[in-house]
Amino acid sequence: MADDPYILQSLRLSGFRGYLIPKTFDLHTKRCLAVFAPNGSGKSAIVDGLEFMFSEEGTLERLGVRAIYNNAGVTALAHNLAAEKKIDPLVDVCFKRGDRKLEGSRNASGTPRPRPAIADAVQACFTVNPSVRGHALRRFVEEQTAEKRYEDVARWLQLGQFVDVQRDLRALRLRTKAAAEDKAALNRVDSLLSRKSASAVKAWDEAVVLEYVETILATLDNTLSLKALDRTDPAFVTVKDRASAEEKRIGIEGLRQIRRTAAVLYDEKEDPESGGPSMTGLLPEFAQAVDAQATAKVAEAAERNATANAVFAELWKTTEPLFAEGRPIPDTCPICTTPIAVSAAGSAEGVRQHIAVHRAELASYAKAKKALDDATADVNTVHARLVTALKALPPLLGAVHVALRAELAAYLGYAEAWKEAPIPDAATLKGSLRQLATMLDASIAEIEAKQGEHTYIRSLSKLEELLDLKGEWELAVRGLAELEKLSTALNIQVAFISGEIRRKVQTLLNTLHAPINDIYREIQGAGAVPMRLELPPEEDTNQQRLNLVIDFAANRAGVQPSGFLSDSQIHSLALALRLAAIKRFNTAAPIIALDDIVTSYDADHRRTIAALLAKEFTDFQLIITTHDERFFIYLMDQLGDQNWHYTRIIRFDADFGPRFVDHRITDVMIEARWHDGESAANEMRQAEEEWSLRLCRDFGVNVRIRAAEKAYSYERSELAEALAGFLRGQGLTPPVVPGVNNRFLTSLQQGAVENFGRHFQDGPYGDGSKGDEQAHWNEFKFFRERFACPKCGQTRFKRPIGMKKAVCAKDSCEAQLDFDAPATSL
């Protein structure tokens, strides 16, 4: 089952391209289809249906997805009347694989237009595009680039992976080369170097870097000079040793830290306003805070005495509103019920004044109390900071400051034990701190004057940075060198891989040459020049190209076909190439759709191609459309009808679609029209024409050869006349149709039925009454039924060449046509 090929069982076009009314191509019994049609009548749309069904994006190559440039876009997929007629533009397919039937439908309008699963599965079996369009054949030979041809053929040969590998290798080669030439890492080092040297050195050059190092070391010791930027250089070792020694003694930063810590305790600066010394630091701050606290205590005590009766504060506060101005005055005290008039205040006004005095006394006290609380908090804060600062300084002082350290320790003891004023005397300590500051300022000034900000520690750090940059630079240089080597090695490996792939591809190409040349010879005859597909010369770095060349003559070997072959020969070459590839590779879905492939051939070549298809492609399912009637006839002659269904498009109706010669208007279709309340006049006329044409064909009647541009355009009157002539010649008289004035056939001949007033209007689409139409239809059916085999009742006849009489088409019957059978009344 899994190995069975996919065979198309039916193709249905609905509202798609020129096919408005759904048309099904049934391939169940005969798998191959040949369609003849004049140009512009809808034959290519059959191949379009297949191309659309299998396309990736749900469109046709010539339409594209969007309307742009020469592409009409997907809008052109749907019939222009599909929306108006409420017909969904669809293509339906049914495939058979083994015993399984697999159906799928694809919408030809809107977005998205997803491909059904069965189309995915079948498409996956198409190594080579199964649709061959006559107009596109030449492109492969003449217009396609060698690169595109290589890609196509490589995919035919299932070598797509080689194309991908070669593409990836080419890209890898280019990127590796680019990486080997990429100076980004070196530029980064230059950028860092420029920043770290304050733009003194902008690009790495060790000699220039060493000159820059000399300028740094010169501020420390102008005898120091590096021969190389290396950690083993004697000058570097000296700098490192001196930096280590510098770390062990107090440097300028250490001195500055001691100075800052001492200043937190005590410092003297010149007051810019008075010119005298201005004292700062925690020692004077503490003294000031303690003084402020003592003052606040005195003030608070004084106010506290003034408000001895402050216990009545709440009472006064509560009572005050009761005696506020403007309120009704109470007659008695609200607390003790003593009449106001006999109280100490004597009156309400007296009570008000009494309360105001005591409330003011209370406000002064509260202010003094707050000032005392603030002063106490300030003292506590400054005291804590002072203790901390006294502890911070001694560890920073060296051995030479042993006396100061003792003083600080003693004062710390006093400070920690201190509870309240007076404070311990700090005059001695302040003096010692003043001396320390003077000494430190002198030392710092001396160092700054000598080496500025430069120290051995800083210089060593700078040298280490430069050494790191040197390491980074050297690593980047070595990395680029290694990449260069790898790039060269990769070129060698890619050349090896490409060479091996080339041999593999050429081996496979050689297997294609024989079948292509066989098919080409089949079409062009024994004298056809051999062709071959050739890869570029081995030394050519771009191996993803493929030349199609021919050996035209001994002195014209390996030449381009377009310069030496005729139009039809090039056409044949392209056709041979495609057919050979399809035959070889599309075995899982052996379907070939050939759309107008014989346009540039003469009659002999058309016959040859028909013979080729019959000989070489019997296992394939062929769908052929052509506007070349001779080719169509050759196909019928060569391919027989066992597996083939031949049909013609006889005309194209814009509001219907292509009308096929075997398109039958059935009785059911006409009944359905009436059932829907519509006129069936058009269908009736069509049915009469179809029946007449079929009968004329069966009988082999004589008709006038048509003008070339209307080869198959028979009129009903002409068919009726030919039929009448044939029957007359046979001595047969069709029976009279009841209710028709003259014989029905004569009516047809004369156009009487066509223009019968009671049936139809003059226009092509009559709107006679339903009753009239039905009456006329019954007359026709009565007449039609007379043309049945008098022996077996079959309605098909034949008249083999040489035979005068028409006989029943059934081989076992072959009774002669006769109208002896009794007529039934209408």
Binding site: D168, A179, T507
Partner: protein, 74 residues
């Protein structure tokens, strides 16, 4: 140096064989051949196989550019 070309051998099998031949060759840079085989000459290359191969090549160059002592130190 050539490998045996078999017309019926699948492209994937051919590429894998090609990778093995490349790695085994004394004339080729073995580390680079490993990278090319692993990322490109494989039956199922990753979508970003080229980028992965490029990263591996740059890493190989960096490793080779780093002095032996640093390599040993990690």
């Amino acid at each position: 140096m050539h490998i045996d070309v078999d017309a019926v051998e699948s492209p994937a099998a051919f590429l894998v064989g090609l990778g093995k031949a490349l790695k085994a060759s004394q004339e080729m840079d073995a580390d680079l051949a490993s990278i090319v085989s692993q990322h490109i000459l494989t039956a199922t290359p990753a979508e970003d196989c080229m980028e992965q191969a490029m990263i591996a090549i740059i890493a190989l160059a960096a490793t080779r550019a780093t002095p032996a002592k640093e390599n040993a130190d990690g």
